[in-house]
Symmetry: C2
Subunit: 337 residues, 2 copies
Amino acid sequence: MEMKKLGRVTAFSRGISLLSCAAVGGKQEGEGPLGHHFDEIDTDSFLGCDSWEQAESELQRRALQHALRKGGMTMEDLDTVLTGDLLNQCIGGSFALRNEPLAVAGLYSACATMGEGLVLSSLLIAGGAMKRAAVMASSHFCAAERQYRMPLPYGSQRSPTAQWTATAAGCCLLGREGDGPYLTHAILGRIVDMGITDPTNMGAAMAPAAIDTLTALFQDTHTKPQDYDLIVTGDLGAVGHGIVADLMGRDGFLMDERYTDCGLLLYDRKKQDMHAGGSGAGCSASVLCAYLLEGIKGRRWKKIIFAPTGALLSPTTTFQKESIPAVCHAVVLSAER
Amino acid sequence: MEMKKLGRVTAFSRGISLLSCAAVGGKQEGEGPLGHHFDEIDTDSFLGCDSWEQAESELQRRALQHALRKGGMTMEDLDTVLTGDLLNQCIGGSFALRNEPLAVAGLYSACATMGEGLVLSSLLIAGGAMKRAAVMASSHFCAAERQYRMPLPYGSQRSPTAQWTATAAGCCLLGREGDGPYLTHAILGRIVDMGITDPTNMGAAMAPAAIDTLTALFQDTHTKPQDYDLIVTGDLGAVGHGIVADLMGRDGFLMDERYTDCGLLLYDRKKQDMHAGGSGAGCSASVLCAYLLEGIKGRRWKKIIFAPTGALLSPTTTFQKESIPAVCHAVVLSAER
């Protein structure tokens, strides 16, 4: 498999095949506009487990099972699972894969974890280090709220710029051979920090990282936004989406109606009270695995950019008045090689 | 670069070159038996920063700078940095690399992070996805204590099986070309959980993961412990080291005096009150970068196994009475290709 370095971007001459994918979501995700695209919606926030953290692991376990089943594969067909989540010490993925016969690489890029996994796994597969890999990521609203913000029973108010952490997991199986969709380009992001300090406005903090990665992608591949049918960042929400559209436009990259964001796709912001939109590692992962890849398969879109973003803060750094570093990893997904 | 799959192990026919490495440590690490091997010892636990978390980032920044300087390189010579640590949301690495011109892959394998980084980067380099990468990991005693256990001023008692989180970072630069030492074999671990629930005895929880990975390495490469000059797990400490030696012996793999552990090497357990030994992502990373690679370069050892172990628990999983999953990633390091 030939790889070509174009500046910061790696191009795969034959494309890495996305063999199968699946997404599992919670009640709010089921009620959103993408609800019917999910492989499974569980309206029990505990998913039959004893805690929300265990439920988040269960989301990953089920997403992997659905992806394997839909691809006609078993765990033995996979070389490695790359997984990550937002919980402290990344327990979502680690506990999901306890005692499974699978080599595991733990990832952390906050809400951009699915992007990091896709980039790393495609590079590993293209280079011949593995034949097939699974990439997955998750988040859980209730587990995230009590870890990052307030225990849910406090019923604390949310700022209008705040986003809603998705209760969802997405899992993607990638391989050297297959009928597509294909991953044709990959770029790993740099850590960008423009000094934003408001943890209830992470869209603004992450927008500069998205701009950095998207600009490099367009420049290094000599393409423009109009060469793609859809450009999806995530999870910038309404605030970050607006900043990216504005600033990219000023730099000569016209981000028109083909530009959207996973945080804007997952929920109906008019009917569901999600403020600036969705977020969480499970947001971009499930939007990709429930909706975007299906759309490419169905030829609704031929070529898209999937560019999940992550805010690399922690409650501790916020207490210490640090600004918020962010990262954006991106891949080009295409119906054809 | 040819890669060969031997069961779960990947063998590199020409070896991946370890171009440069560096380690930075704190006061206790400086007073330990490896103290004079470190590139820098800073006896100020804050390293001139305002918090211990910021100090941990500073450890990584300095380790990267030393490794680049010793290798005669700049950041522009690197394709990617793979980094991880134990802090919630992996802020040690993310904040160390803010606004640097470097693509970043965030990792999480707890104290086995250096192992995960070496395995992934060697696979990526061998496959042609990148030419040169940096791998780094860190931990900080004071930041870890207050995050995982008790605020330091409480002066709480420690159990005799407990280990001491190292205040240290190690950074390794790897590349396709170079004069060695060489990384010749790599294996990514599975997540093993034998039901241990005591978070003050993580050596016992991690030992089964080390046994799983070491057994696969010996079997798949048709080697035995006596084919290596040194076998170093980490950070099992005294308790876990004993379990691995015992159980591997029963399975026919005689782990004699050539078997040791990063947690036993870093401190003088008689003079320094470190209970069962060292631990933390910075323990195995700094023992590798300060001591082990230097020993291979100096031909003290020709061929060693470096097999860092990680306990994938969090305080939340402990409160929820979960058992402790663990992982062990391993590489073979050799003076010759």
